[in-house]
């Protein structure tokens, strides 16, 4: 039964028309990266990459970017979260999909089973209610995410501070998209030729800050939405630019955002957070790629409050998530994918969250499809032809 304003963007005839248009303008293979975990999820859920592969004479490869905030949260931060969550005075609050992310010693689910008070919240502001309800407890929120979640996380800190709720603190691990795009484009192994920009991030930030990146690296960036038609139209707009030798920032998601984004939300974010260098799981340190709390709000900084020491961490040496996050490889190129590494026993960043590329491939059965044996690299390479969907 249709949902207004949503199902229109899943229309099969319109999707086929967009694919036909891409087919018409494309004269050679291209490699695009979608920046957002939500876009990756949508591509795999709706089978868009397979649709393009079946319909286009030239490859239009969609590689999956580091846009899942859960995946790129560093192991150190996760271990710190676990150390804080284990304290008896703490009610540890988190977005749901963070619970499953493995640290060096298990995940938050395991701590919950051992008696830690861990709660899934749907908005950071739920922590204010908990703080009033349990004044003798320490309410700690795991403030992760890209620019999208920053305003709500900032609002929690702002209101806790204004309402003098001293028992609220946040463990901040915010990451920013533009430095990640620049990092990918600077890598010598980079294959990405055009980007589907992050729609929800730009709804907050606008897309002015992407313009210098597009011109410096001569790469088209089309800020796109998350529904199948958004992604196909974003891909069409990117291919048009590539074929014409253009490299500008365009806005496919105009029904949601404009060049300026949401100034009020941004002002709140800047009043609470300032940029800092940040370590990304699977990628490494990227300068000026994260947020930390401003000095005025230091009393709400959970790292300060609980004095969690730097912890030595160890990643699996089988995991290739760093290369996946940079678009160099795809999940099924990893020998551990679906065997040693599954959502139940994730070895690395990209298998842990529903939005991670490996988890999305796994959830939608790509490890089961006999055809997913293709090697990486531009062009089709030794890719086994994809059998079409079973005919009705």
């Amino acid at each position: 039964m249709p949902i207004a304003y949503l199902d229109e963007y899943r229309d099969r005839a319109l999707a086929e028309r967009l694919v036909a248009q891409i087919r018409k303008v494309q004269t050679r293979p291209w490699v695009l990266m979608e920046m957002c975990g939500g876009q990756t999820h949508s591509i795999v859920k709706h089978g868009l990459d397979q649709m393009l592969e079946a319909a286009l004479p030239h490859t239009l490869e969609l590689v999956h970017g580091p846009g899942c905030p859960v995946c790129v949260t560093s192991l150190e931060m996760i271990d710190k979260a676990h150390a804080i969550a284990q304290r008896p005075e703490v009610i540890f609050c988190s977005f749901g999909d963070m619970l499953r992310v493995p640290g060096s010693r298990g995940d938050l689910f395991r701590l919950q089973a051992q008696g830690a008070d861990i709660r899934v919240v749907y908005t950071p502001l739920d922590c204010l209610k908990l703080a009033r309800q349990y004044p003798a407890k320490q309410i700690v929120f795991f403030a992760i995410g890209f620019e999208t979640t920053a305003p709500a996380n900032a609002m929690l800190v702002y209101r806790a501070h204004a309402e003098k709720l001293d028992n609220v603190s946040v463990l901040v691990s915010h990451v920013l998209v533009p430095p990640a795009i620049a990092n990918i484009l600077q890598s010598p192994a980079n294959r990405v030729q055009g980007f589907l920009g992050p729609g929800h991030v730009c709804a907050i930030m606008g897309y002015r800050e992407y313009e210098p990146i597009a011109s410096r690296f001569q790469v088209p960036i089309v800020v796109s939405g998350f529904e199948p038609l958004d992604i196909l139209q974003g891909a069409l707009m990117t291919v048009r630019q590539l074929e014409a030798g253009k490299h500008t920032v365009e806005n496919q998601y105009a029904r949601i955002l404009n060049r300026d984004g949401n100034p009020a939300a941004r002002q709140l974010v800047y009043s609470v957070f300032e940029t800092c260098d940040k370590k990304w799981r699977g990628v490494g340190a990227i300068p000026k790629s994260g947020y930390k709390l401003r000095w005025e709000y230091r009393d709400h900084d959970a790292e300060r409050r609980f004095q969690v020491a730097e912890i030595d961490t160890l990643e699996s040496d089988l995991c290739i998530s760093g290369q996946i996050l940079k678009g160099i490889k795809k999940p099924h190129h990893c020998p551990a994918f679906g065997t040693a590494c599954t959502p139940l026993h994730p070895l690395g960043a990209t298998m842990v969250s529903a939005e991670g590329a490996c988890a999305a491939y796994y959830a939608y059965g790509r490890h089961l499809q006999p055809s997913m044996t293709g090697a990486g690299g531009p062009g089709r390479g030794p890719h086994t032809p994809q059998p079409g969907p079973p005919a009705t």
Partner: protein, 361 residues
């Protein structure tokens, strides 16, 4: 979210607490086998459930088999219910405990006859809540034509349970000639669903997490034995298998059939009925309705020649008016479930490792 607070029975107006027979809350004595237990049975359970077998109050129900033709068989099933919250839009743990077990019998083609019910009560449970749950069970059993003929009650310390757990065991009668099993699906068979999917799971989730939508999402909890009987009558020997897609939802139920029958399946996403409100809630939370629990829906695998008759029979029943043909059994990819997406792509539906969690963004 569990916000259980310690029970505080009002003792303000009592001069001497000694003669108190606890009427407000469940206490450990209600499970001790003495006077309180007897009182709970006599005043709460027996009046609600009463029938000649139960009223004998023996340790076992002694039952006469129904007078039916030779060749019929007994069906036996058991299920435990631990749902939180215990009252939810569209039902409660009591009616659910009856429907769940009745449906497990019905999916085997059985006519449900009798239920046994075991209660694990947490000290401090309000007797008013227990009374309401028991009344709801009794009403559900009456409506389904089954008798609750024996039972048991235990009480655990406060904090050692979650208000109330109910286990129901059901006995039913499978008439001669009815042989339904999850290993019977064959290539070419059609896959029917009796109505919208995901209603129960999203009703529970939205209630549990305090998510307010414009109107409440109602659980679909219902007894399906008459609906099952209708489709059995309509399709006869062409009906291969019935399943109620409870935990794990439609995708998990079909996956089990595909595995046990050694066949593949292809579903058409656009034909799978999902209520608009449920669909919206799922989109909002990043949850896939194909994996969300149902408590009042069935899946029927039917040979192609009887598919139209089976669909018509489902649609003619009040519990099946939104029934749809959603896919087909295939010989390719045995053990696998493929979905043709709304937009025209395909993907594999695998079973889930975990409970679905709301996504961050």
């Amino acid at each position: 979210m569990n916000t259980a607070s310690s029970p505080t029975p009002s003792l303000v107006n009592l001069t001497c607490p000694l003669p108190l027979t606890e009427k407000e809350r469940i206490v450990l004595g209600h499970g001790a086998g003495g006077k309180l237990t007897a009182a709970l049975i006599a005043e709460l359970f027996q009046p609600a459930f009463h029938n000649p077998t139960l009223d004998r109050l023996d340790d076992q129900a002694v039952l006469a088999l129904p007078a039916v033709s030779a060749g019929g068989r007994l069906a036996l099933t058991t299920d435990s219910f631990v749902v939180t919250p215990i009252f939810f839009p569209g039902g409660d743990i009591g009616s659910l405990a009856v429907h769940g077990t009745v449906n497990d019998l019905a999916m085997g083609g059985a006519r449900p006859l009798w239920l046994a019910a075991a209660f694990i009560l947490e000290e401090g449970l309000a007797q008013a809540d227990l009374r309401r749950i028991v009344a709801s069970m009794a009403a559900a059993a009456r409506a389904a034509g089954v008798e609750i003929v024996t039972g048991d009650t235990k009480v655990v310390n406060h904090g050692k349970g979650d208000q109330i757990f109910i286990t129901t065991t059901g006995v039913g009668w499978v008439p001669e000639g009815v042989h339904l099993s999850s290993n019977q699906a064959r290539p070419g068979d059609r896959i029917l669903v009796s109505g919208t999917i995901g209603d129960h799971g999203m009703a529970i989730l939205s209630q549990r997490e305090g998510l307010a939508f414009e109107e409440p999402i109602l659980s679909d909890s219902a007894a399906l034995h008459t609906l099952a009987a209708a489709v059995i009558d309509a399709a006869g020997g062409h009906l291969r298998c019935l399943r109620d897609p409870t935990r794990g939802g439609l995708a998990t139920a079909l996956h089990e059939i595909a595995e046990r029958s050694g066949v593949g399946m292809l579903l058409e996403e656009k034909h799978i009925p999902v209520r608009e409100l449920v669909h919206s809630a799922c989109e909002l939370l990043g949850i896939d309705p194909l994996f969300v629990a149902n408590e009042g829906k069935l899946v029927a695998i039917v040979a192609p020649e009887a598919a139209a008759a089976a669909l018509a029979a489902l649609r003619a029943h009040p519990l099946g008016e939104n029934a749809c043909l959603v896919g087909e059994v295939r010989s390719e990819h045995p053990g696998m479930l493929m979905l043709r997406t709304e937009v025209g792509g395909t993907r594999v539906l695998d079973t889930l490792f975990h409970e679905q969690l709301p996504r961050i963004c």
